[in-house]
C-alpha cells in the first residue's frame, strides 16, 4: 500500500514533536526540523497528486481499518490539488519566515515553529480526511493553533483580536458539529462517502435540511463570508507576519474547499440545487460579500487591513461560483481556490518584506518603495494585477470561468459584481502602486528624485525655475537607494510570482486534468 497520504500528514506532526524537543537542545534546530518536515510533506503531496492524476482516487485506511468504522483518508483530484497547495505554501513560507520570526518574536521562535507545524497538520488533515467528525477535530486543531499564533503577534491588539476570533471560531465550529450530529442521526454514519450514499434515499427529510444549513453556516463563519467576516481583518492584520502570510491564503481557502466538499461529495449538488432552492439567495449573498469587501477595502489606510478586506471580497467569488449551479461556476470556484491562495500568498509575502524593512505598512510608510525594494515591488505588482484580473496572471482565468458560469446561469448580477470588484481592486492597487512609485508624500509637488536634473518643460509647467527645484530631495533618505529584504524572503516571493504566471498560462491544463475530471 502506498503510504504517501499518511506521510503527508504525519511528517509535520512528528516534525512538531521533534521541533519542540529539539528546542531544549538548541533553538535554531527546531527551525531546521520544521523545514525538513515540511519538505517531506511537500514531496509526499506532489507524489500523491501525481498518483491521483494517473491512477484515480486514492483511499488510505489509517492503521488498516476499513470504513465506515476506521478512519479513512480519501484523496481525489480536488484534495490532491489542495494538499499540494497547502504544503507548498507552508514550505515556502517557512523558508521566508526564518528572518521575520527572528526579528519579530526571537524569544519564542521554537514555539512558533511547533504551532506552525501543528497548524499545517490541521489544514492538511482537513483537506485529506474522508470523515465528517475528523474534519471537525482537524478544523479545531487548525483553529486552536491559529488562535495562539495570532496572539503572538501585535503586542497591543493581537490578544484581543485572537480572543474575538476564538469566540466566533467556536460558534462556527459548533454549528458544524451540530450539523454533523444531525447527519449522524439521519444516516448513522460519519464517513463522507457512506453518508452520501444513504442521503440519496432521504433527501426530503427536514433533519437533513437542518444538518445542511448548520454545516454550511458553520463553514461560512469559519471562512468569513460577509456578513460573518468581522473577525477576519483584525485577526489577520495583527498576527505575526510569519503566520499572517500563511493563514491569509490558506485558512479561508481550505474552508471554501470544505464547503465544496460538503456540497459536491456529501450532500450532492442535485440535492442542493434542485431540492433546496437556496442557490439564488446565496449568489445574492456572494454579490453583497464581493461588493462590501471591495468597498471596505477601499477605505483602509493600512496595506495589511486592505488585503484582509480583499480576502473577504475574494471569498464572495468562490462562494458565488460554487453556488451558481453549473460546472463552469464550480470550475471557477475551484480554480480560484488555487489562484487566490497564490495571489494572496504573494501579496502577504511582499507585505512581509516591506514590514521587515520598514516596520509598518500604513500608506504613509510606503513612498519610494519601488526604488528601494524593486524586486519585492515587482512581485507585489504582479500579485496585485492578478487580483485585478489582468491576463496572463492566474486571477484572470478564474474570473473568466466565474463570469462564464454567471452568464450560463443567467446570474448577471454576479457577473456585474465580479467586474465592479475588479475595477475597485484596480483602483485600490494602483493607489498603492502610485504611492510606492512616487518618492514623495502625496501633495508635495516640489519633490523630485534625488540626483537627477529636472526636465525643463516640467519647470515651465510648474512655474518655477531650476534653482528652486533641487531642494526637494532628501526628505526621504531611502529614495533611490536599494534596501531589499533578505534573499530567503525574495526567493519565496520569486517562486510564487512564477507560480502565478504558470497557474495562469496552464489554467487550461489544470482545468482539464484536475477540475473537470473531479466534477464528472
Amino acid at each position: 500500500m502506498n503510504n504517501m497520504p499518511a506521510i503527508l500528514v504525519l511528517a509535520p506532526l512528528l516534525g512538531a514533536l521533534f521541533a519542540g524537543l529539539a528546542a531544549w537542545i538548541q533553538k535554531q534546530l527546531s527551525y531546521y526540523i520544521a523545514l525538513t518536515a515540511m519538505a517531506v510533506s511537500c514531496f509526499a503531496a506532489v507524489s500523491v497528486l501525481k498518483d491521483v492524476v494517473e491512477a484515480g482516487t486514492m483511499q488510505y485506511r489509517m492503521a488498516g481499518w476499513a470504513p465506515p468504522m476506521g478512519i479513512e483518508l480519501k484523496i481525489d483530484l480536488l484534495n490532491a490539488m489542495v494538499l499540494v497547495l497547502i504544503s507548498a505554501i507552508a514550505f515556502l513560507n517557512l523558508v521566508a519566515s526564518v528572518k521575520s520570526v527572528e526579528q519579530e518574536i526571537p524569544d519564542r521562535a521554537p514555539s512558533f515553529y511547533v504551532m506552525y507545524l501543528l497548524f499545517v497538520v490541521g489544514l492538511l488533515g482537513v483537506s485529506a480526511t474522508g470523515d465528517l467528525f475528523n474534519l471537525y477535530v482537524l478544523i479545531e486543531i487548525t483553529s486552536l493553533t491559529s488562535y495562539t499564533l495570532i496572539a503572538l503577534g501585535d503586542k497591543d491588539r493581537g490578544h484581543l483580536a485572537a480572543l474575538n476570533y476564538i469566540f466566533i471560531g467556536v460558534i462556527g465550529a459548533s454549528f458544524y458539529l451540530l450539523g454533523v450530529g444531525y447527519l449522524y442521526i439521519t444516516t448513522g454514519s460519519l464517513n463522507m462517502a457512506d453518508v452520501a450514499v444513504i442521503l440519496k434515499g432521504i433527501q426530503g427529510s427536514s433533519a437533513v435540511l437542518t444538518a445542511f444549513i448548520l454545516c454550511i453556516l458553520g463553514v461560512w463563519i469559519k471562512m468569513a463570508l460577509f456578513p460573518l467576516h468581522v473577525w477576519l481583518p483584525n485577526a489577520y492584520s495583527f498576527a505575526p507576519v510569519g503566520f499572517a502570510r500563511v493563514v491569509a491564503p490558506l485558512m479561508t481557502k481550505v474552508m471554501v474547499y470544505v464547503m465544496i466538499r460538503l456540497m459536491v461529495t456529501v450532500f450532492g449538488l442535485d440535492y442542493i440545487l434542485d431540492t433546496l432552492h437556496l442557490a439564488d439567495a446565496v449568489v445574492w449573498l456572494a454579490v453583497t460579500a464581493i461588493l462590501a469587501g471591495a468597498f471596505m477595502a477601499l477605505s483602509q489606510t493600512d496595506l495589511k487591513k486592505m488585503l484582509a478586506y480583499i480576502i473577504v471580497c475574494e471569498i464572495g467569488y468562490m462562494v458565488g461560483g460554487a453556488w451558481l449551479g453549473n460546472d463552469l461556476g464550480m470550475t471557477g470556484a475551484i480554480l480560484h481556490i488555487l489562484n487566490d491562495a497564490l495571489m494572496t500568498f504573494a501579496l502577504f509575502l511582499a507585505v512581509g518584506n516591506i514590514i521587515y524593512m520598514r516596520k509598518q505598512v500604513a500608506f504613509s510608510n510606503l513612498p519610494g518603495l519601488f526604488s528601494a525594494m524593486p524586486w519585492t515591488m515587482a512581485g507585489f505588482v504582479l500579485a496585485g494585477l492578478s487580483i485585478i484580473g489582468v491576463p496572463p496572471t492566474c486571477g484572470f482565468f478564474s474570473k473568466w470561468y466565474l463570469v462564464l458560469g454567471a452568464f450560463e446561469a443567467g446570474a448577471y448580477h454576479f457577473a456585474a459584481a465580479l467586474i465592479i470588484s475588479s475595477l475597485v481592486c484596480a483602483v485600490l492597487f494602483f493607489k498603492v502602486f502610485e504611492i510606492c512609485f512616487f518618492a514623495s508624500a502625496p501633495g508635495d509637488p516640489d519633490h523630485h528624485v534625488a540626483g537627477s536634473p529636472q526636465p525643463i518643460h516640467y519647470i515651465h509647467a510648474a512655474g518655477h525655475d531650476r534653482a528652486g527645484g533641487d531642494s526637494g530631495a532628501g526628505t526621504h533618505p531611502p529614495a533611490g537607494v536599494m534596501a531589499e529584504a533578505p534573499v530567503s524572503m525574495l526567493a519565496a516571493l520569486g517562486l510564487v510570482s512564477i507560480a502565478i504566471i504558470a497557474a495562469g498560462v496552464y489554467a487550461g491544463t489544470i482545468v482539464n486534468t484536475i477540475i473537470l475530471p473531479f466534477l464528472q
Binding site: 485572537a162 480572543l163 449522524y184
Partner: protein
C-alpha cells in the same frame, strides 16, 4: 395541545439543549465581561455535547458492555440486539470534543490574563476605549 406537550416531553433534552445553547450564545454576544463571554462559550459547547449524548440515549437500553464477551461462549449464544444498548459512538466522539473545548477554554483564559495585564480591565467597552486611545497616540 396534548400532542405538542407530549412532543416536548418526549424529546425534552433536545429542547433543553437548544435552551442551553441560547443561554450560551446570549452570554457570548450580550455580556460585557470577557470572562463571562468565555463561560457562555463553554455552556454553548457543552450544550452540543449534551445533544450528542442524547443521540445515543435510548429508553430502557443499557451500557454498551457485552457480558462475558471476552472469550466466553455466552456472547455467541445470546443474540445481541442493538436496541438493547446505548450507541457508544457519539460518546467516543464527545471525548474528543470535550478535550477540544477545554483546550480552547485554556487558550482563551490565557489571552484574557494577557489582555488584563496590558489594559487593566476585562470589560469590553473599556477595552475598546483604551485600544482606540493607544491608536491615536
Amino acid at each position: 395541545m396534548s400532542d405538542i406537550l407530549s412532543l416536548i416531553v418526549a424529546k425534552y433534552n433536545f429542547w433543553l439543549y437548544i435552551i442551553l445553547m441560547m443561554i450560551g450564545l446570549y452570554a457570548m454576544i450580550a455580556k460585557n465581561n470577557l470572562m463571562k463571554k468565555l463561560v457562555g462559550m463553554n455552556i454553548f459547547q457543552t450544550a452540543i455535547i449534551l445533544f450528542y449524548v442524547s443521540i445515543g440515549y435510548k429508553h430502557g437500553a443499557t451500557l454498551p458492555i457485552i457480558q462475558g464477551g471476552h472469550g466466553g461462549h455466552s456472547a455467541h449464544d445470546a443474540v445481541i440486539r442493538a436496541a438493547d444498548y446505548i450507541n457508544p459512538l457519539p460518546h467516543v466522539l464527545m471525548l474528543t470534543a470535550i478535550v477540544v473545548s477545554v483546550a480552547t477554554f485554556g487558550v482563551a483564559m490565557a489571552l484574557c490574563v494577557r489582555i488584563y495585564q496590558r489594559y487593566q480591565t476585562l470589560e469590553e467597552d473599556e477595552l475598546r476605549m483604551r485600544v482606540s486611545e493607544k491608536n491615536n497616540l
